[in-house]
Amino acid sequence: MKLDILMVGVGGQGTVLSSNIVCDVALAAGYDVKKSEIHGMAQRGGSVVTHIRIGETVASPTIPLKSADIVVSFERMEFLRYSEYISDNTTLILNTQMILPPSVADGAAEYPQSKIDSVKSRFSKVYEIDAISKAMELGNQKIAGMVVLGILAKSVPFGKGEWEQAIKDRVPPKTIELNLKAFDTGYNY
């Protein structure tokens, strides 16, 4: 088995928790796993990228070009920055939430919607979800990441129970139920 997952988003979106859970699940399933994160500076709002690599043995902590199996984009345009990782067989999991880059917010540049549409067509499979709305329906915007994780879980060969256990181990005890509900929403999407 080889599973290379690239998770991209914007600082403050909570990608760290999601990627930690993926690592726990891979370990529990008996695989080798490495995760590499560049989180830059303390402030929010920058691009963040996490490489997760799962297999019998994993050497490099970063994914070679054109060989991501799954790209998870927590923000609508962020995957565009990493298109060099797309292979002929890459799945895209896309949260359609928009977070405007400063130059777009400032009116100096446009949000690259047409590029999103064209690069999206290069993926072999695309799952799109408005995770923020789904999370708000469940009562808390902060669990949007868990909805996205649910979709990812459906696309990879690990048991649902392992995911649920990893979530229970990682989230604050009081929020377990809510997080599991959000995960289910994604899983059954």
């Binding site: 690592c23 080798d32 796993v33 490495k34 400063p102 777009v104």
Partner: protein, 578 residues
Amino acid sequence: MKKVLSGNEAFARAAYEAGVGVVSSYPGTPSTEITENVSHYKEIYTEWATNEKVGLEVAIGASLGGKRSMSCMKHVGLNVAADPLMTLSYTGVNAGLVVIVADDPNMYSSQNEQDSRHFARFGKVPMFEPCDSQEAKQFTKDGFSLSEEYCTPVLVRSTTRISHVQTIVELEDRVEAPKLAPENNIPKWVMIPANARKRHRFVENRLELLTELAEGGKYNKIAMRDKKIGVVCSGVAYTYVREAMPEASTLKLDLAWPLPMKKIAQFAASVDKLYVVEELDKFYETEIKAQGIKVETLERDVCGELSVDAVRELFGVPPVEADVDTTLPFRPPNMCPGCSHRGIFYAISRLKLFVTGDIGCYTLGLLPPLQAINTTVCMGASIGMAHGLDKATDDMSKKSVAVIGDSTFLHTGINSLVNTVYNQGHSTVIILDNTITGMTGHQPNAGSGKDIHGNPMPKIDFAAICKAVGVKEENIRVIDPFDIVNAMEVLKEETSKPEPSVIITNKPCIFADRSVIEEPYFIHEDKCSGCRVCTKLGCPAIAWDASKRVALIDENLCTGCHLCIKVCKFGAIEQRSK
């Protein structure tokens, strides 16, 4: 038990398992989380030191006192701690002492890309180089025993791709280190020339013994595969080589210093072609070539980091055609909404002052629209440079200021301020006291009134320090950085004085005190004239609606800092009521 740990968590775990008693460090990406994680082990006394030199000296004292100790820093931190390190090499240790130094190839968050391996050779001390979290833990633990066995400080080199990478680690229990009495041994610990001459001889002998260790069977293993290609490599570069060229034979250097030259020669003789794949400087390559061993030439860039693809390319695999879109709108780092640095920087930029800058979140004042940083060299440099600028020119002191954060002022700013006062400078220094070390992820410092665990501590009084070193009381001005009009007034007054002045800002980082966060503001579309003055503040919460030609506030981002209402002349900005 197995767990997925980051390199930094693994380094901390090593300290725990090795029975370490004292850890003193200064934060710096990518090393910061090592000490933060150590602080969660209640068995270990952990502190944030005022700078890396102090941190290492505390560790030396703890070792002298009989406890295993550790100090962790980023690569440039070791420049600051180099002075004690160089002579600590001579004294050696009592209880084991490990220094972890984290390099930052590609400079994800650093001002230079220096290669710390040179420090091992320079200081004649051993240096480990782990390739993943398991080795990070194992080598650090080994480092403590080795430190005691050979009477030497031990360096462990990390890089961003070790510190911030998570891999599987086998956890072990803590074993209390053997109890050692505090050492009182004048010939060993008092480095006057007569003693130091003998210790230098000791250092040279120790290096020979360490070379024997490096040549032995425990470290630096040769793995013979295809004999056509042999690669000497270490750290994360080893993992790239294994993936890029699984057939190649390897000599993995666990110890970056001293090098096992006999083993390397033997490896060279057993393969057709010998290559060296290392990140940053040609450190191994230069040393190996100096021994007369033939090393094949690779067109490797010494700038930036390696990767599987980069290694493949070095060995002639045509590069993957990757279409990187460079026209996408960037997400540059920016000061947070509500950051206490924004108002004062707006004032500085309005007055068009020349700014000798320093390192911290305020360095982001460089970016448009504020554009109010003209220099950044190293921590503490702002004050000394402002003084040099003053002495070299007729009137620059009237048109310039030094800006320095609270943590940076305590790190290496105080001595420069003493220098300015002593040498009768005229410069104006702004201490941006946001009560925390923001840039590295909000660590408390001596000005925070809190220790690493959040317990109350004595709080350093910046105004009192300035007064004590001789800045006149009337030239020390404590101001609210959000009050732009007053800030401009004070800046004009202080820069015009032919004496040293210090302006101290008094509002916290939004992460230091969450109680400053208030209800968000919003903009009345009908009252907004479209003048765009609020967008010149560079607050990430303020956007511009090009079609309606009005400004708007993202209420999810706004922290209610009141800054923008001070620049809006049309009363268009209003706070939401609770």
